[in-house]
C-alpha cells in the first residue's frame, strides 16, 4: 500500500505477542515509549514530579487520576505539545524507540508526525471539507501526489470507522458531521500522518454514550495499528479499553500496571480509594 513510503510500519510480530500482564513484563519487554525522570512545570508550579513509565507497543495505556493530577500534562509532554504553552517547562527524557524526542538535534515537527494526538473536543478545521480535513496534514506538509492523498484519506477514514458513513459526501464540511463523527474524523486526520503512537486526551468526554462506545470500539481495533495512550476521567472506560493503567495523583505516578490488576487488586491504598470512588 502507498502508505508505506511515508512511515516505517511497526514490526508486525509485536502484535502477535501475547498479552502478558505482569509487572516484570512491562519492564523487560521492548517499549515503544520510555519516559525517564520527567518533570514538568507551569510557571513556578510543578505539574509533574519525576515520572518514569514504559509504554508497550501496540497496547492501550490509560492515564487516570483526579482533575489537576497532571495526566493531561504528561500526555502533552509525550509529543512536545507541553512546551507550546506559555510558561511551560520540562526536564527529563522521553524515548521513542530509543530516540530522545527532547534531543536538541531533533525537529519537533517530525516528532509530532510520528506521535499523533486527538483532543478532548472534536476540532475539525471548520473551513475544510471532510476530505480536506483528513488530507490537511499531508497537503500542508507538502505532499502533492493526488492519488497518494486519495488512498491515504480512504485508508484513514476506514481506520477511523467513518468511511462507510461519509464516503458519498467527502466534499461536505467537516463540521456538518455529528459530534461522534467529528471526533472520528479527527482520529482519521491524525491517522493520515501514519503515526506510530496516538495520544488521546479525554476523547469521549464531549460525546454521548453511544458515540463514546463507538470510539471505544475503535480504540480497541486501532491497537493493531498504533500504540495508544488515552487520558480519561471515566474509570469504567479505562477498565474497558486499556491494557495498562497508570494512576496519577498530585503530579506523581502512584501506580502503573496491567489494567486487570489495577482494577481488581491495586497495590497502593491511594489507587484503591480513587478507583472505588472513595475520593476524587
Amino acid at each position: 500500500m502507498a502508505v508505506e513510503n511515508l512511515a516505517p510500519v511497526e514490526k508486525k510480530e509485536q502484535i502477535e505477542e501475547s498479552f502478558v500482564y505482569l509487572d516484570d513484563e512491562i519492564e523487560k519487554s521492548h517499549s515503544k515509549l520510555v519516559v525517564k525522570d520527567v518533570n514538568g512545570w507551569f510557571g513556578s508550579k510543578q505539574a509533574l514530579k519525576s515520572i518514569n513509565i514504559n509504554i508497550k507497543p501496540n497496547s492501550v495505556t490509560a492515564f487516570i487520576g483526579p482533575s489537576g493530577c497532571g495526566k493531561t500534562t504528561l500526555l502533552r509532554c509525550l509529543n512536545r505539545m507541553h512546551e507550546m504553552t506559555t510558561g511551560a517547562k520540562i526536564t527529563g527524557e522521553v524515548l521513542l524507540d530509543g530516540l530522545n524526542i527532547y534531543d536538541k538535534a531533533i525537529n519537533p515537527v517530525i516528532i509530532k508526525r510520528r506521535i499523533g494526538m486527538v483532543f478532548q473536543k472534536p476540532n475539525p478545521f471548520p473551513t475544510m471539507s471532510i476530505q480536506d480535513n483528513v488530507a490537511a496534514g499531508l497537503k500542508l506538509n507538502g505532499v502533492r501526489d493526488r492519488n497518494l492523498i486519495q488512498d491515504i484519506v480512504e485508508d484513514s477514514l476506514k481506520g477511523a470507522a467513518l468511511w462507510n458513513e461519509v464516503k458519498d459526501e467527502l466534499d461536505k464540511p467537516g463540521v456538518s458531521l455529528s459530534g461522534g463523527q467529528q471526533q472520528r474524523l479527527c482520529i482519521a486526520r491524525a491517522l493520515a500522518m501514519q503515526p506510530e503512537v496516538l495520544l488521546m486526551d479525554e476523547p469521549t468526554s464531549a460525546l454521548d454514550p453511544l458515540a463514546s462506545s463507538k470510539i471505544e470500539e475503535l480504540i480497541s481495533n486501532l491497537r493493531e495499528r498504533v500504540t495508544i495512550i488515552i487520558v480519561t476521567h471515566n474509570m469504567q472506560q479505562a477498565a474497558r479499553v486499556s491494557d495498562f493503567t497508570a494512576f496519577m495523583y498530585l503530579g506523581e505516578l502512584i501506580e502503573y500496571g496491567a489494567t486487570n490488576q489495577i482494577f481488581k487488586n491495586p497495590k497502593k491504598d491511594l489507587t484503591e480509594r480513587y478507583i472505588s470512588g472513595k475520593f476524587g
Binding site: 477498565a239 487488586n265 472505588s276 475520593f279
Partner: protein, 220 residues
C-alpha cells in the same frame, strides 16, 4: 464519604452474618442430635432450606450490585467472594441435613461408640467458628490455621476408612452384629460429611484471604 455502593455492601454483609449464624447452629444441631440420639430431621431440613434461599438472595444481590455500580478493587473481590462464601454456608446446612438423614435412616446411635465422631465434631465446630471469625474481622491469617486443622480432620477420616475396610475384609471371621454394621456405616458417613464441612470452612478462609490481599491462594 458514603457511596451508594456502600449501602448495598452493608446489606449484603448483614445477610452473610445471618447465614453464618444460621449455618453454625444448624451444624451444631446436627452434631448434637447424633451425640444425644435425638431425631430433629425436619427442623434441620427447614434450616438448610432457609440457607439455600439466603444463598440465592445473596447471589442475586451481588450480581445486581456489580451490574449497577461497577465495583472495583476490594469491593469487587468482596462481592465475588460473597458468592463463594454464601455457597459454603449453604453447603454447611446441606451436610447437616445429610447427617440428620443418616441418623433417620440407619437409626439412633446410642449403642455406638460416638467418640471418634465427637473428636472430629469438636475440631469441625472450631473450624466453623474460626472461619466465621476470619470473615467477621477480615483476618487473612486464619486461613493457614484452618488448613492445619483440616489436615487432622482428613487423617481421622482416612484412618477410620482404612479401619472399616480392614474390618470388612477380615469381618467374616470375627462375629459382627447388625448393630455394629449400623454403627460403622453411620459413623463413616457422618465423618465423611464432617470432613466436607471442614473443607468448606477452609474455602471460606481462602475467600477472606483473597478479599484482603487479592491473592487467590491455590486450593489444596
Amino acid at each position: 464519604m458514603t457511596r451508594l455502593l456502600d449501602i448495598g455492601l452493608d446489606k449484603i454483609k448483614n445477610l452473610l452474618v445471618d447465614m453464618s449464624i444460621l449455618s453454625e447452629t444448624t451444624v451444631n444441631m446436627a452434631i448434637e442430635s447424633y451425640e444425644k440420639g435425638i431425631a430433629i430431621r425436619s427442623k434441620i431440613f427447614d434450616h438448610s432450606e432457609k440457607l439455600r434461599l439466603l444463598q440465592l438472595e445473596i447471589a442475586d444481590f451481588a450480581i445486581e450490585l456489580i451490574a449497577r455500580y461497577q465495583p472495583v478493587a476490594t469491593d469487587l473481590r468482596f462481592l465475588q467472594s460473597c458468592l463463594d462464601i454464601s455457597y459454603g454456608f449453604m453447603r454447611f446446612g446441606r451436610y447437616a441435613y445429610d447427617i440428620s438423614e443418616v441418623l433417620e435412616t440407619i437409626g439412633p446411635s446410642h449403642k455406638c461408640d460416638t467418640s471418634i465422631v465427637s473428636t472430629m465434631a469438636l475440631i469441625v465446630k472450631d473450624m466453623i467458628k474460626l472461619s466465621l471469625d476470619s470473615l467477621r474481622d477480615l483476618d487473612k491469617d486464619i486461613s493457614p490455621k484452618l488448613y492445619v486443622m483440616d489436615d487432622s480432620v482428613d487423617s481421622i477420616y482416612r484412618n477410620f476408612l482404612r479401619k472399616t475396610f480392614k474390618l470388612d475384609s477380615e469381618g467374616l471371621s470375627t462375629t459382627i452384629t447388625i448393630n455394629d454394621m449400623k454403627c460403622y456405616m453411620s459413623t463413616l458417613l457422618i465423618l465423611r460429611y464432617l470432613e466436607r464441612i471442614s473443607d468448606h470452612a477452609c474455602y471460606i478462609g481462602d475467600c477472606v484471604h483473597y478479599i484482603v490481599t487479592g491473592d487467590p491462594t491455590p486450593r489444596k
